[in-house]
Structures are given as C-alpha cells and as structure tokens.
C-alpha cells in the first residue's frame, strides 16, 4: 500500500465516518488526481517535507499536513482545490513559512499547497508604479528584480517573506509610518476559493491607483490568513527609491520623552521613514552583544528619506524636537557604512535579546495602541515583566504605536512558559483596554482567536463568520485560524 496507516487516519479526521475500504480508495484516487495535475514531482508524502510545511517561525509546535502539493500555475491550484473540495480535505496555503502566529499548522491535517514554484514577476509597469507577482516571489527577490528601474517595494517585515503571504497576513514593517502596510499597497489579488473558483478581487488585470468600484474585496482577502482563499497573484504599489537616506539616533531620559518626540516629529510634517524605539533593557542587551556603548536609556532610531536638501531640513527639525524633549547624544550619518553602524543595535536586537539567555528561545509579542497611550502601556508592561521575573526587552515601531516584547524563555521550563503565556494575554488585554489591537502586524493565527473575539465584540465576529460561511461553507480553508470554531 502506498500510504501508511497514519496518513489514512489523518486525512479522514475531518470527514464523516466511512468504511475502511471506501476510505483508502478515496484517498488513493485523490493522490493520483493530485499527481496527474501537478506532476509526479509535484506531490509529496515524505515526512521531512510535511514537517517542513507544518511549522513557521512562531512557538507553535509543528502540525504537519497529510500531503504537500506543489502547483505550478493558478489552473493547477484551482484543479487541486476542486479535488480537495470534493473530498472535504482541509486546504492550507504555504508561502515561505516565515509567519509568527502558527498560521500554517495543519491542525486538522489536510493538503498543504506549497506555492513556491509559482515564482514569476509578471507585468511590471514602471510609469504606473505597479507590478504583479506570484506567491513564490519574496520581497527581497522583487526588490532585486526592480533594482535597474529605480523602484522598490518598501514594506519590510524583516523576514524575506512571500509577497502574497505578506498580503495574506496584512504584513507591516519598520517603514510603515511613511509607506504604509500591505493594506494600503495591494491593488488587486487573484484568489482561488475553496471550491476552485478563481476570483480577481478588483477585476482581471486592473490596476488603477484608486477606485470606488463595488465592495472592497481586495482588502477583504488582505489579512485573511488563508482562511478565505489561496492568493495566487498580488498587484502591488511601488515607490521610487529615495535619492538619499540619513540615519540618526537619540537617547532620552524616559519613554514619555521618546514618544512625545515621535508625536511632535509626525505633527511637524517631517515625512519620517523609520522611527524605532528600543527600551533600556534592549539597549543594554545590544551593548553587551555588539560591544557598543550606547547610554542605557530609552533610545530612538530614526531614518529619513528624500533629496539632499530636504534631508537637511528634516534632520534639523527632528534634532530640535528631540532636544526640546530632553533628548541627548543626537548623532546622524549619511554614508552607508556609518548609517549601518548607528543602526547596528536595532538590526541586532533579535539576536542580542536571545544572547541575554543562551539556550533559550525568543518569542515576539505584538500589540498596537493609539500613540498617546504608548508611554503608559510600555511603563505598565515593564512593571509586569519585572514583577513576574520575565526577560522581555522591548523594540517598537513607535511611529505606529506598535511595539514588541522579545520574550526570552527557557523552552524546557513549563512553569516559565506558562508565566509568559499569561503575560502575553495580560499585555493584549492591556492594549485592548487602551483602544488598541491584540495584533499590530503578526496576525491572529492560532493563538489569538479568543483575543480577536474580545477585540471585535460579538456582532463584528458574527459578520466575519458570515463572510467566512459565504466564501467557504465547508470550512476547508486553513481551519482553526483567525476565527474560532463555532459551537453548534
């Protein structure tokens, strides 16, 4: 027999009970259908391949699918989806596996659609500042492709993620304060629904810079984390690579002073490109890790984009503001080497945090609140960390009111893991109490479904559930993510 017993059992967990002989015939016929669609090489049952496709970069454990398929075009995605729909197999889209909320775990088994072979950059329109890409194109690959054109796609979540995956999670990054998140930069999507229907959310091939035509289907799928459909193309808004960049850093006596400076810089109309916050614990970690000597105090890392002349004005305005808020040690640089040196702490933050406790794992929290609430939530969070003996240096995209505690935790200590879990729940609820959100960038995935209910309230969740039922009545698309299973 081709399949081991475990495979057969897994694939059928989600379906109603059938006899043993009917089961194996059905599963076999599905596999042979997959192979005839994607080719012999396009289907894998290997344990290593399934494990690779059952986890991402979160702390959630690996939940491998029963089979991984590698479609090469949207027609193959649609055909495989039709087979899955017929047999009620769960469908899990997979880009680069760089997510942070367990979004790719096959909780109910099923078929993982690994989209990496669809890796073409299609339809670049330089004068219109738009390009369409397939799911196998990562953001660094796109920017390398665009390098001759003077254009770039600035959304930068850190990882070299699939752009369609970034659309699925509504990713953001360090320069969202100037260039926006995926929500503002996706013009059109090609999506395959659970029954194989291919949808163009803004109409096939359309790419106007703005539209008021009909319901905003594009942004319905952006952030849907694979629960409404498989994104097979995304049309993105591009920007000109700025003529020049300047980086700066500044130390502050308090979190309040740093945030006040941020608000005032934004209010003064400086089109700041990046404004990142590191707390004193993080700065201390960075000093130790990279042998630096920053003053151990809340610090802002700033980056400005523009022409030579406008940069001078931007930097002067920012420097004046930071000084008036008690900022000190304002340093700035234009050439790439010195800029990298100035920002070294921010770039190495993740590793510096982990180095605080070698052998431990790092987990990033992710909440976002209105700017005015940022000082209070950071202060309360730091008190919580100290009270509960947790290691959690803080780095934040302070221009968006979004910050991350890099929780460094011993993976073999269940008591500590539990304390971290409770801490992250308190943190999320603290953010919700301040009119914020339980996830600024990383998505809901597996771990924040209950918090989503608290955040949105019963009525809005019901509307979301209604949309889910309309697009995926069999609940095949990435089950157990974003929305909780309804209790019948």
């Amino acid at each position: 027999m081709l399949l081991g017993l475990t495979h057969r059992r897994c694939l059928l967990k989600c379906r109603s009970v059938k006899s043993q002989t009917t089961r194996s015939a059905v599963v076999d016929s599905a596999l042979s259908a997959f192979r005839s669609i994607c080719g012999e090489d396009g289907v894998s049952l290997a344990a290593a391949v399934r494990e690779q496709h059952g986890k991402d970069e979160s702390v959630h454990r690996c939940r491998p699918p029963d089979v991984v398929v590698f479609p090469r075009c949207v027609e193959e995605v649609s055909a495989v989806a039709k087979v899955c729909h017929k047999h009620d197999f769960p469908i899990i889209p997979f880009g680069t596996g760089t997510g942070l909320e367990g979004g790719v775990g096959a909780v109910k088994g099923g078929v993982c659609f690994s989209l990496r072979n669809m890796d073409q950059v299609l339809d670049l329109h330089q004068e219109d500042f738009d390009v369409t890409v397939e799911p196998g194109v990562t953001r660094k690959a796109l920017n390398a492709y665009l390098r001759d054109t003077g254009l770039w796609f600035p959304v930068d979540p850190g990882a070299d993620a699939s752009l369609c995956g970034m659309a699925a999670t509504s990713a953001s990054g360090t320069n969202a304060v100037r260039y926006g998140t995926m929500r503002e930069n996706v013009l059109n999507l090609e999506v395959v629904l659970a029954d194989g229907t291919i949808v163009h959310t803004a109409g096939k091939g359309r790419r106007p810079r703005k539209t008021s035509a009909g319901y905003n289907l594009t942004n319905l799928f952006v952030g849907s984390e694979g629960t409404l459909g498989i994104i097979t193309k995304t049309t993105l808004r591009l920007y000109g690579i700025p003529e020049s960049m300047v980086s700066a850093i500044c130390s502050f006596p308090s979190v309040q002073a740093a945030v006040d400076s941020t608000v005032q810089i934004l209010q003064s109309g400086v089109p700041i490109a990046r404004i990142e916050f590191l707390d004193d614990v993080m700065i201390d970690a960075c000093n130790r890790f990279s042998s630096l000597s920053y003053p151990v105090t809340p610090t802002l890392f700033l980056e400005f984009h523009g022409s030579e002349r406008s940069l001078e004005e931007q930097v002067n305005t920012a420097e004046d503001i930071t000084q008036s808020n008690g900022g000190s040690d304002f340093q700035w640089a234009r050439d790439p080497e010195t800029r990298n040196k100035l920002w070294k702490a921010r770039h190495d933050a993740w590793y510096a945090a982990q180095a605080l406790r070698p052998g431990c794992k790092a987990y990033s929290t992710d909440v976002c609140v209105p700017l005015s609430q940022l000082p209070q939530i950071i202060v309360e969070t730091k008190e919580d960390l100290i009270e509960n003996r947790l290691t959690g240096p803080i780095a934040g995209h302070v221009g968006d009111g979004n910050f991350h505690c890099l929780m460094v935790v011993d993976p073999d200590d269940p008591e500590e893991l539990h304390r971290v879990h409770l801490f992250t729940e308190r943190l999320a609820r603290r953010a919700l109490a301040m009119d914020g959100t339980c996830t600024g960038e990383h998505g809901v995935g597996l771990g924040k479904r209950a918090l989503l209910c608290e955040e949105l309230g019963h009525t809005s969740i019901q509307v979301m559930q209604g949309l889910k039922d309309a697009l995926d009545p069999k609940n095949l698309m990435n089950p157990e993510k974003v929305l909780q299973l309804r209790r019948v």
């Binding site: 492709y145 054109t149 003077g150 254009l151 770039w152 690579i241 003529e243 020049s244």
Partner: protein, 254 residues
C-alpha cells in the same frame, strides 16, 4: 593625469533567471529573458563613482559593446553616477561571436582615444565566466594589472590593489595607467534611485562601431554545443551499514 576612468559594463542574463538551453543545443535561450548589468560590472562602476565622489578622479565613462539594448545597461551605469557613456555597436553574428579578445581590443583602442588613467572592469561575466578581458586589455596596452581587487587605493601616480588569491590576500602597487578588475568584496553597489535615473536621461551616450576604432572582430573560437549539466539523480536509502558498503563497492568508489 587625465583623471578619466573607463569602466566596461556588460549586458547579461539576470543572475536570478533560470537558464534554459535551446532545444538544438546551439546556445541558451535569450529572447524575452530578463537581462541586466553583470554584477561584477556593477561593482566596477560603484568603485569608479566612489573614486569620483572622493575627488580622486574627474570623470567616469561607461562603455558597453553590443546591440541596441546595451544602451539600457549604460543608462543604469549613468544612473549610478557615471558621467557619460560610449556604446560600441556590435550586432548579429558579430555579437554572437563577441568575446574577451574582441572586447579587450575595443577597450584598448578606447583607452588610447580617451586618454584614460584607469580601466576598471568586472573580474568576469556571469554568462561566460571567462575572466580574461581585463588581463588581455592590460597586455594589449602594455599596462600593469591589478585583478581580483577587493580594495583599491589611488596613491599619487600609483595604485595600491589588495587582491583576493587562493592563499589569502596579496597587496601590490602598480603604476598608472593601469587595469583593475573588481572582485565581489570590493564594494556593495548602490541601487539606482528613481531621481538619478531621470537625471541620467540627460547624460550623453556616444555611438560608434568597432571599425571606427580600427578593431577587427574576427573570432578564433567556434561554439560546437551547449548542454545542461546532468540532472541530479535521486539518492538511494539503505537499511544497514553492510548495504551501504556494498553499494559503494558497486559504484566503484571504494
């Protein structure tokens, strides 16, 4: 010293593209395939522009040999900071047969015509991997050469070059005029920004033919065949050490 630097830039298939061999094995598929500047040529341009920004040289001239599309490559060089371009037009069969010998003759002729102080080239092109043009150009001009450069420093009328060699790094000092070829670690090339691409449209590209330089393009090489590397075969799993030893013996490896 003229303070003029010539930089050769070659238009090649983009490094990220999957190369396919033509069905008749006569060459590789180039139609409709993304092309861009050879990565080592990008490094060469970056180094020249850096020298100009440090005010050690006065003018950077980007040179490319090829069909009409080579002008796009020169435009990228201009957007990165080169001052003007020279497009030596080579098309059709001549272009298919164009190799280091012909290009080095062209570069040597241009170096004399433009009174160049320095020629910077990429160490090799990623399509033919020849690694010959720099060396041949130096020989034709009877100029010293600093190849595989990971560091270049102008010191009066000499150039100090740190070269990457098998054993490590070798530092040499050569007289100018000289030829330098750029290795990977020489610098990180800048991306052409959109404003600079717009400004580059106003910079001049001179057109000429190899005959204008008195260069004979006859090739002494004939490409017989191009083949893909053999497909990688699947491995075989064995259950025991004895099986492993047996298979290795079968394959003649032990």
């Amino acid at each position: 010293m003229s303070g003029r630097v010539l930089v050769g830039v070659k238009r090649v298939i983009d490094y990220a593209v999957k190369i396919r061999v033509k069905p008749d094995n006569s060459g590789i598929v180039t139609d409709g395939v993304k092309h861009s500047m050879n990565p080592f040529c990008e490094i060469a341009i970056e180094e020249a522009v850096k020298l100009k920004e440090k005010k050690l040289i006065k003018e950077v001239v980007a040179v490319s040999c090829g069909p009409q599309q080579s002008q796009e490559t020169i435009r990228t060089a201009l957007a990165m900071g080169a001052d003007r371009g020279i497009h030596v037009e080579v098309t059709g069969k001549d272009y298919e047969a164009l190799g280091p010998l012909q290009v080095s003759k062209i570069m040597a002729a241009l170096a004399k015509k433009e009174d160049a102080q320095l020629i910077i080239l990429g160490k090799q092109a990623i399509d033919d991997d020849c690694n010959q043009t720099g060396q041949m150009t130096a020989a034709l001009l009877d100029w010293p050469q600093g190849t595989f450069a990971s560091e270049v420093a102008l010191e009066g009328d000499k150039v100090k070059v740190v070269r990457e060699i098998d054993g490590g790094l070798e530092t040499i000092k050569i007289n100018t005029p000289a030829v330098v070829t750029a290795d990977l670690r020489l610098n990180t090339p800048r991306y052409a920004t959109l404003p600079n691409i717009m400004k580059a449209k106003k910079k001049k590209i001179a057109n000429m033919k190899p005959a204008d330089l008195g260069v004979d393009l006859t090739s002494r090489l004939e490409v017989l065949r191009v083949d893909e590397p053999p497909q990688r075969q699947a491995g075989v799993k064995v259950e025991t050490v004895e099986d492993l030893v047996g298979k290795l013996k079968e394959a003649g490896t032990i």
